[in-house]
Symmetry: C2
Subunit: 251 residues, 2 copies
């Protein structure tokens, strides 16, 4: 029995754009959940992805408070995650692109703790969590990789805390741009030329500052020929210069 048959005979909701590709032949294989797994292990996790889901720009993948059931691998597109404080303020906690895993915030309480909104038309692979746990108890590489991913999420968050707690506005923006650049590079896009998918307000929220401040910093960077900014389009002109901005000048 081929994998295809096994998939199609399983009872589940079938949407238009599932099927077609498995982890085995997904181009994101080395950025995503299967990262570092052997050929054999990847095949074992192929049937993890129950289905996929398209999320149009501005649509919500899930909301804080929603019941948790699955985690999601970003297949294409761009997302933001936000947390809501008791008194209604919300804060962007991250931006997410292809290969990244969403939803791990829900494991602890069976309810999602943040909301995920697509910033452009996107697609995610849906991985039912009970199935992930089941398979990862058998496939040692998957267990390791999943733990690695959660750990990296924690480390990433610590990096953001460092940014929010100890950097000034210019340093934050510089770090933000360099981080984006690096992630685009890892996905085969230009390191120096990209479009921001988020608004100034979303950037500000993520970086703990007001949108006007973000705009001012962009303008200042432009005057200093570090970047070229035209609306959402960014061209990084001077990577070493930006790196120096992130705080190394303090040495």
């Amino acid at each position: 029995m081929t994998r295809e048959t096994a998939m199609t005979t399983a009872a589940r909701v079938v949407t238009l754009h599932e099927l077609k590709s498995t982890c085995s032949d997904c181009s994101l294989r080395e950025l995503c959940l299967p990262m570092g797994l052997t050929e054999e292990e990847v095949e074992q996790i192929d049937h993890l992805v129950a289905t996929r889901r398209r999320v149009r720009g501005a649509e919500t993948l899930y909301r804080a408070g929603d019941a948790f059931g699955s985690i999601y691998a970003v297949r294409s597109g761009f997302f933001k995650s936000t947390v809501l404080s008791e008194d209604g303020r919300d804060q962007v906690t991250g931006f997410h692109m292809a290969g990244e895993i969403l939803g791990m915030d829900g494991i602890g309480t069976e309810k999602h703790a943040c909301s995920i909104v697509a910033l452009e038309d996107s697609e995610v692979c849906i991985i039912p969590f009970p199935r992930l746990e089941e398979v990862s108890a058998k496939v040692r590489g998957l267990q390791r990789q999943f733990h690695r991913l959660m750990s990296r999420e924690i480390v990433r968050d610590h990096g953001v805390m460092l940014l929010l707690g100890s950097m000034r506005a210019e340093e934050r923006v510089a770090a933000f741009l360099l981080n984006l650049s690096q992630r685009f590079t890892a996905r085969g896009y230009s390191p120096s030329d990209f479009n921001l998918r988020m608004t100034r307000e979303e950037i500000g929220s993520y970086l703990g500052m007001k949108l006007e401040t973000v705009s001012r910093v962009f303008s200042r960077f432009q005057e200093e020929h570090l970047v070229e900014v035209r609306q959402k389009h960014i061209r990084i002109l001077d990577v070493p210069g930006l790196s120096r901005m992130t705080g190394k000048e303090a040495c």
Copy 2:
């Protein structure tokens, strides 16, 4: 063969203060890794803890860059974790007390990403990570619980980001005090009367502000009869008042 015999016959380094107690009869059972496990499951994880380690106040449990091999459960005492930025600044990312798990930052890269320092004489249970992965592949409840713990760490970090990114100094301090109070309560201590183990500088680092600002906010809270502060001793006088400070007045 009793559990005790099984333990003492196993070949391993024996320090003075290990043995004595297992997860099964540890008082922190319901706060720590075994939380929510069945009697039977807890027995299966009793031999997870290879050994314990005392860490005197101001000593380091591990440092950023150290090879990762184990995670740690705080048995007693109080710790801080710090991350170091490339340019030498460091930032406190958390304070940790009995029952909490340390070290998960190292899973992703096999190197610890932050440093852990004891703020008073403390003791941790050392849980070799390969063993944890091995056992959690068999004991389903342990697998779930470990995932829950990592997830909660992520959610906690998001909470800190919210605090750092969107609250003002007074709100941060109020949230900090209420958080401590709640965690002390969960451990059977007074909700309103406790000693801070950390300096103003460490609090400031955690909350993204300078020690002078922390001190000023404490003084202001004291004038408003929200708390009584005498050096490291804190008495919370008005919980609802403090809660209002955390931002609810913005509504």
